[in-house]
Symmetry: D2
């Protein structure tokens, strides 16, 4: 039996930290040797009681030197800003990093416009955007992965196949719907059960920080700066994300044939004949996509689990690739249905 | 005290029939003198146990002659096709009709293309589309009202103020989200709790029969045939509807100012400063609207209660107008919050 | 038209404050002349945006002198402890008080054991427990009403008819299920959508402060100190409460006949033939009750809207009685179904 | 690598059939070689689209001879009555059977009283009730397992440790709450989203067929026929089950210490310090149990996933034991949290 690769999880208290543990506990080639939060001093089961009798490891106070002693690769499930400070240290200690925050996702200018001053400009230049469908070979050689945002993952995967056919001057409209776990564990008036239940509403319309992330990546792939209009909504579900993309093509295309062809070799994209739902991807790394059209107007519907394909399972796919493993090793594919 | 106007409800077993009763029970000027279903022979509380000790009237087997004896105006909460047969009889007997089905909403050609052969072509010509914001004075003189669909109500009210400013060749995209009560009371695999709960999906994308209704009414108002792309979704809530409309204007406009001005005299439209939610309109006849923009790209978000503004309370507003009453008489305005 | 009675609402920011406004806005005999919170300086629509175009009154900084100038009766929707301070002042100024907090519900000893030191012992002696089914005539003469807790309302109404038949030494078990609005508007980890959604759990089992309230009132009525074991649960709904009471009788009784007879004259209790649900009472002041039995073991299921019969509408019934009005005046009876 | 044991699933279209597939797809020692429904002629992905790219096997028309050719052990996820016909054939062909229906759970008399005439009396005598906590060694030698009902599993596991201490003449009250998946996939008025959402109600109170199953098994273990009063409720969640048991002991016991001691060697029971919730067991075979008391009154709260510990994962534990494997082999332990 192959010796397992030691990995660390920094930021174990949130939902994505939990999902990382849930995947890595039974991963065939990775072994969790270090988990940490900002404070430490607890057990994994104090943070996540559902892990009782499953994974009861001590949680450390995050320390880069300690990570380097125990692990070859670290997953950072930290807030933006905190992540880049820690990543910088780890990289200097030759620990590979998969960063789940936004800190290395954007070019410097866009990052500083939408987030804050960047404190690790040097590594930013070498970070690879960890969407395997566009960057697989670069990921395999990378030491720092910027794990994509949940909305960008679902949006880009839906739009990607159609980029060559789009009318350049037409705006792209993206109407996205996310479960509440995407907003994190912190109790806020917005996350209150009574606010969300029996309700739906848009938030940060045309101002969400995932909008420039989507726009930048589409431009990198297509060479054209499309106008991207992104409107996210909160829906009364815990997990899952559905993204509707409204596109306009130059000419009439066979959208479905293009979609099927584009993803014919993909392990984790499923092209569906009927409109996709979020329960069929919840619990998995799949992105399900459906497309239909009326003339040159195209409707693409893509579904992911916001915490898995939109965060933690995609992070482990990236780690698999960085470590020379099969991208599918240990990746969840069985949905939480019913 | 003014003598009350006698009204009938035909189709009392479904959700919109129930909502009609709930409004009319305490209406200051209408009195329910006749309620019926196709079979009859039960009490209102057999159909809707929550009416116990509130409204325990006998439910008749629907008969137009009997309606004419008991009521001046009838609300038809019947399936399409059944409605036009009954409406025809009632109109011949000089009973005013508010039809909540689709039977008189579209022009003949569009109707027969999307539904079935029309069996009351004569009255169809005189039917008035009962959206008070565009047809108030016509409604006041009408004897037959085609009460608008739920999706068209929310969509048209959102788009209406911007019609003069739209780029004529640009498609309109409408991404709509509806609670499950919109699909009716019938048990189907789609309406099963386990299908809907923790889920969201599009259905009939670009093929829903409310698409031609929206397109036709926008054309009637604007004189231009816009390309309307309509995609409805089911969300895990019982009632409520949120409609996102994505528009493109010729020039940069001040969308919010236009919206405020357009509805400044409206009793039942509320322009909101923050993205609208569906709980604030659930239980009421209000349509809440929010708009924001990026250059010439416009996002309009409109919210209604699908069973009230999208059906029964709008029907009663129409009845109020047809009977020379204040449009707001007896109309619910207090939301089901929290 | 009768001159309206002026009333005040102190504590307008929470759910019960909102429900009081929703009822009183259209009450035939009461007029809201003063609303306040601890801070004041806002409008009702700032606290509750759904009131836009419905009720846009200024919210004052709570001041007893001002209340006395503007109102004959005040509803206190304040936290316990804050309530008794304010009630004391109001009563001295001859303002009638309906207190929705726990401050006047219990005898002194029980109160100080389960809450804190009592700061208005004098008025406590004269406070009337505002459950109309047991105290109607006393309420009519009272100037201070202790409005019952939500769990005690549903529990006591379910158990009351059977008290004379119970086996004295047998414990009573009450398994209660409440919507999350009962826990208030404050964002807490427990009220987070992700904690509640797709979940159910007991809280404070055998330690909830409504347990002594139930026990004390049952003892007052029956003359016997039953052992009451009360276990509340949170369920993933916004509003509504279902209470299961498990009783043991001395002899075999006809439980249903006793229940029907006991409530035959009651306006706001409905005895049902099938197990009660919470949607049929949500939005109303009704308490629906179902009973079944196996020998001397009795299962009673009672349903109320926790914010209405469990708080605000019961408070208005009490106010109606205190002011010599019909108890049903302006009280909501139409459920939020579907 | 050990040769895998071939197993069949009969009844692949429902929820428990799906859960069996989800577990067995990645089981280390079992291989699904045959799946069937009554009709056959489809693929697993036609029945369960979420299995696309995961498990796309052909579904056969159920035939006992074919099962015997392909498998050593068969899981029957069929309705009661259908199951016993099929089990009889399979046993005659020397195929081991784990029956998830009710057909072999009760003694003959009780079965025929609560279900229908029994058509396989011979095998009924040898069937083993598959609750590993009480029958582990018998299960290891069995060829026919009656897999317990979901309510009995949660109820019995909660009550079992306290049986020796119970007051014999005191009734046991069990207040159970189940997610809707327990009622199956069939669209019914009860399973309609609008019926369940924002609602809770009891059903079949004191008449549910799981009541005699619980009573019989408690009697078999304790030697005493306790009076069991069982009231199930439906709650607005898809999966999960919480069972409250109300017990009375002869003397004051240390309930928590007894509970901990009783399950100290159990792989799949977790004793919790705080009231259990259903999300922490959803997706797993765990039964979480909490106990608290007031004198001789005991409240036990037990939580399971109704489709897993209440059906399919317990079935696979039984199959593991029947085949000489570790009971935990391939059994899901990681919860669907958040």
């Amino acid at each position: 039996m192959m010796k397992k690769i030691h990995v660390a999880i920094i930021g174990a208290s949130g939902y994505t930290g939990l999902e990382l543990m849930k995947i890595l506990i039974s991963h065939p080639h990775f072994e969790i040797t270090y988990i940490a939060t900002t404070e430490g001093g607890v057990k994994a089961t104090d943070l996540h009681p559902s892990l009782t009798k499953v994974f009861e490891q001590e949680v450390q106070k995050a320390d880069a030197q300690e990570v380097a002693k125990h692990a070859e690769l670290a997953f950072l499930a930290l807030p933006h800003k905190a992540a880049m400070g820690f990543a910088k240290e780890l990289l200097a200690l030759h620990v590979k990093v998969v960063d789940l925050s936004a800190d290395y996702r954007l070019g410097l200018e866009a990052y500083e416009k939408h987030y804050c001053e960047h404190e690790d400009k040097e590594n930013l230049e070498h970070a690879i955007y960890g969407l395997p469908e566009i960057n697989k070979s670069k990921i395999q050689k990378a030491s720092l992965i910027a794990n994509p945002g949940c909305y960008p993952t679902a949006s880009i995967l839906g739009i990607l196949p159609f980029l060559p056919y789009l009318k350049k001057e037409a705006p792209i409209f993206i109407d996205a719907k996310s479960g509440v776990s995407g907003a994190g564990k912190k109790p806020t008036p917005t996350a209150h059960f009574v606010t969300i239940n029996e309700n739906i509403f848009a938030y940060n319309p045309l101002k969400h920080r995932h909008e420039p992330e989507i726009a930048e990546k589409l431009q990198l792939v297509s060479g054209h700066a499309f106008e991207v209009n992104f409107i996210p909504h909160l829906i009364p579900v815990s997990r899952g994300m559905l993204v509707s993309s409204y596109l306009q093509t130059k000419d009439i295309i066979d959208a479905k044939a293009i979609l099927i062809d584009f993803y014919k070799a993909s392990s984790f994209v499923r092209v569906r004949d009927v409109p996709v739902d979020i329960k069929s991807t919840a619990g998995t790394n799949f992105c399900d996509i459906f497309v239909t059209q009326k003339g040159t107007s195209i409707f693409v519907s893509s579904s992911i689990d916001n915490l898995l394909r939109g965060a933690s399972s995609q992070a482990v796919v990236n780690a698999n690739l960085m470590c020379g493993l099969d991208e599918a090793a240990g990746i969840p594919i069985i949905a939480y249905v019913p």
